[in-house]
């Protein structure tokens, strides 16, 4: 098992190193820099001296390789630099925003599980019934509905027409737990809907596959009730592929968080990343992409390890 974890860890480190280089190269391929982005619409940047001074201040007048080396050197030492867009310390920005995004993720995952697993199970057990078709249609809507549209409609419905939740904003849990939960209700739901729909599809098909296995037939032949067959023998093995889906959905949620946080004005990592991209804020862009990559790698690593634990055949192949 330890050898297996070690191999996966090495793979992850190599991928992370490649991502670091790739992120920097991609950032350089985008035309313009932060100062140019500011120049385009900002009268502050009205003369060349101002532009040159600000560019020098942020080291943007250095050759690309020098910029990369300096950035990498500082990054690994924990000095993530200063945001060109806001002037804040990048590491502080991350530390401040990470718990917010994690809360969003956990909330969304709870929604996804709460929606996906029961719907998937019911769909599998009532296969081809009217209820199954209704739930299938619902999951397809959940998977295909554009999140920004869903968010705006829900905001107007639940914050303006029937004011149950606030339209946007974030209140830390430690400051006011109830208001925090009210504020996070819609964003987590919107973010979790897509994963929930996807999960329901996977649970349904996985459970159907399990229910067709010989040992399930044997259990039924033994005279066990259908409830006992499903609960004791079908659900647990049927959930193994679900672990993968939940893991993968974390990567998807990151992409979703980019606009859910913008729409709901949640000051998390996603919104910070979007603003950094628009502002060509390289230090924040690079750090965001690396953290995002790291997140995906860690989740995949966890899934691999969990898989190895749940299914010994995986370990043997590795």
């Amino acid at each position: 098992m330890f050898r297996y974890i070690g191999v996966r860890l090495m793979h992850s480190l190599v991928i992370l190193a490649l991502v670091t280089v790739l992120v920097f190269v991609i950032a350089q391929l985008i035309p313009g820099d932060a100062i140019m982005a500011a120049m385009a619409g900002n009268v502050d940047m009205h003369d060349a001296q101002v532009v040159a001074r600000v560019r020098h201040q942020f080291g943007l007048d250095q050759p690309i390789l020098v910029q990369f080396a300096v950035w990498l050197q500082h990054f690994v030492r924990g000095d993530w630099g200063t945001s060109i867009g806001t002037g804040e310390n990048v590491l502080q920005m991350f530390l401040h925003r990470l718990p917010i995004t994690l809360e969003l993720f956990f909330g969304a995952t709870l929604w996804a599980v709460a929606i996906g697993i029961p719907v998937g199970i019911v769909g599998a057990l009532k296969r081809n019934s009217a209820l199954d078709m209704f739930l299938t249609a619902g999951t397809i809507v959940g998977v295909s509905i554009p999140a920004f549209w869903e968010a705006i409609v829900l905001i107007y419905l639940l914050a303006v027409v029937f004011p149950i939740v606030p339209p946007s904003g974030y209140i830390p849990f430690g400051e006011h737990p109830l208001l925090n939960l009210r504020a996070m209700l819609l964003p987590t739901f919107v973010l979790g809907t897509h994963s929930g729909g996807l999960l329901a599809r996977y649970v349904r098909s996985s459970l159907l596959e399990v229910l067709g296995q010989d040992y399930i037939r044997t259990a039924r032949a033994k005279g066990l009730s259908e409830r006992a067959v499903v609960v004791r023998h079908a659900i647990k093995p049927g959930m193994i592929p679900v672990v993968t889906v939940i893991g993968l959905s974390w990567g998807g949620m990151l992409a979703g968080a980019f606009f859910v946080e913008v729409i709901f004005a949640i000051p998390g990592l996603g919104r910070m990343g979007v603003e950094a991209i628009f502002q060509r804020d390289f230090p924040v862009m690079q750090a965001t992409l690396i953290v995002v990559s790291l997140n995906v790698l860690l989740v995949n690593l966890s899934v691999d390890i969990l898989y190895g634990y749940l299914d010994p055949r995986v370990r043997v192949r590795a």
């Binding site: 313009g32 140019m36 009268v43 806001t86 946007s168 004005a265 910070m272």
Partner: protein, 541 residues
């Protein structure tokens, strides 16, 4: 309820870029000066009954960034104006004639100004605003180690000398007509000497100004909370001890415009600058007071007159007459704009009233194309910004040009890419214009002088350049105004750009917000706004 009122510009006017000139003649004393109660802009309506209380809630698209105005970047100048004040303000025609923290300016000669400062002003940290604090601040801005982005704005300044506790003498290297404009702009925001000396870096997040509100809590990316300044000098000077009336201001960052509107409708914010597309749906809503704002921005298409086909005046003229500006305003701006004749808006003191907007005449455009040898059609390249509004405008203009035989191959680009193309002068016809037009020199130099940061050699009109340089030195307001009228005429006659419209915006307030006055604003703009703080009916949001 709908009114025509420039609230947004009014707020922005306090803080945004401006260079202006004094309404003074050389050697005479002064712009409006003396006791606050003697000023025409400080007059209150007799029936106004302001009450104290409540937090005024505002939505901002972005977090403010740095709160030292001289450190880049500052992303929300509206909020900046609540806790910092400037030495001078601009008036109803965007001219820096209003003495605010500087009580009086006297031009001793074109290279020397005597500035008398108001007494009884204290910073939020309790220190005193006086000649020494202003001198320290100006010297600090000019010190290279301070890393201020606006230091070059003070390039004509030779020295600032203390005459007495409340008086400074400013000496210039050359005649400096924009001086009052500069001190009504970023370098004119006064900052506590004590705070700067203690820790200038800390000032970026913990500013100490003199404004009506004090920074209470800064939560980057989320909100900025301000509390009432109980010692605001203007309250005492104007015998209104309850000023400012709100207990505080909460600026919440809400990036999405639709969600900002949802917050207004849900009663979570008290004021909102509407997207143009939102205006029609809100203007008749009895829940709100909606004001149309004549803004000081000009939208235009810029020609590359240095190389390519638009060196030919006939072709520039053909493009300009092929654009149906009325249709563009109706179709892309939802009617919220004013037809532009040239660079300075109609209510700007440098606007030449003799110039009329270029008329829509597609037949003339076709004739001009034919005369220039392009009867078979003309193909030109360019760019526009990639906002949804930008894309709409680009498509509409492209379609209008196509009708006369001009194929505008327009790329819709992100801001940084736009700047890269502009810098490389890689276009024939592209998005142009200017935002925050205060002092006439800033835009004139920026767009039409070789040293301008938005020119990059694309415009080389020698007559215009000579006028721009003359305008910088002329400290007599009337003579200077005449120079800019001439400049507008020169630009207009040479079709240097195709000016489309001057901006108009719409702002919606909840009915609980009191104290808005159209007439007062239009007459005195920035000066009226800061001397007439708003309040809540019954003191509650």
């Amino acid at each position: 309820m709908e009114q025509v009122f420039d609230r947004r510009e009014f707020i922005l006017g306090f803080v945004a870029a401006s260079f202006g000139t004094l309404a003074v003649r050389q050697g005479s004393a002064t712009a409006a000066s003396g006791a606050v109660l003697d000023q025409p802009w400080a007059v209150w309506a007799k029936d106004a009954k302001p009450v104290r209380g409540g937090y005024f809630r505002i939505a901002a698209g972005q977090y403010i960034g740095k709160m030292n105005p001289n450190h880049w970047p500052v992303l929300d100048w509206v909020s900046m104006g609540y806790f910092h004040e400037k030495l001078m303000l601009t008036d109803g025609s965007y001219n820096a004639t209003v003495a605010w923290l500087a009580e009086q300016l006297t031009w001793e000669n074109p290279q020397q100004v005597l500035m008398r400062l108001r007494e009884g002003v204290t910073f939020h940290d309790g220190s005193t605003f006086d000649a020494e604090s202003v001198k320290f601040q100006i010297d600090w801005i000019r010190d290279p180690t301070s890393k201020t982005w606006d230091v070059s704005w003070l390039a004509p300044l030779d020295s600032v000398d203390i005459v007495d506790k409340q008086t400074l003498r400013w000496k210039f290297k050359t005649p400096w007509a924009s001086f009052a404009g500069v001190v009504s702009n970023v370098p004119g925001y006064v900052m506590s000497e004590k705070a700067l000396q203690a820790d200038a870096a800390k000032y970026d997040s913990q500013p100490e100004g003199t404004g009506p509100y004090i920074v209470e809590e800064a939560n980057p990316g989320n909100f900025l909370k301000l509390k009432r300044n109980p010692n605001w000098w203007f309250a005492k000077a104007s015998n209104n001890p309850d000023m400012p009336y709100f207990d505080g201001i909460l600026v919440t960052v809400i990036p999405d415009p639709a969600v900002r509107l949802a917050n207004l409708r849900a009663g979570k914010i008290d004021v909102l600058t509407l997207e143009k597309s939102q205006y029609a749906g809100v203007k008749s809503d009895p829940e709100f007071q909606v004001y149309r704002i004549p803004g000081n921005h000009v939208n235009a298409l810029r020609f590359n007159t240095a190389k390519g086909v638009f060196q030919d005046l006939r072709l520039r003229k053909a493009v300009s007459h092929a654009i149906d500006r009325q249709a563009l305003i109706a179709g892309t701006q939802f009617g919220l704009a004013r037809l532009a004749s040239c660079i300075y808006p109609a209510d700007h003191w440098c606007h030449n009233p003799d110039l009329k907007p270029v008329n829509y005449d597609p037949d003339l455009s076709k004739r001009l194309l034919s005369e220039a040898g392009y009867s078979g059609g003309l193909s030109v390249r360019g760019y526009y910004n990639n906002t949804s509004m930008g894309q709409t405008i680009a498509e509409a203009v492209k379609s209008m040009l196509a009708k006369v035989g001009i194929d505008w191959q327009v790329d819709v680009l992100a801001p940084a890419a736009v700047a890269a193309r502009m810098q490389a002068v890689d276009y024939d016809l592209a998005e142009g214009g200017w935002v925050f037009i205060y002092d006439p020199d800033l835009m004139a130099t920026g767009l039409y002088h070789p040293a301008g940061g938005f020119n990059f050699g694309r415009s080389k009109n020698e007559t215009a350049i000579a006028l721009i340089e003359a305008g910088r030195k002329e400290v007599d307001r009337e003579k200077r105004q005449s120079i800019y009228w001439q400049l507008e005429k020169v630009l207009y006659d040479s079709y240097e750009d195709a000016w489309l419209w001057w901006e108009e915006t719409a702002v919606a307030y909840r009915q609980a917000v009191q104290g808005l006055d159209l007439e007062g604003y239009l007459k005195y703009k920035e000066a009226w706004f800061w001397s007439h703080p708003l309040w809540f009916k019954d003191g509650k949001a």
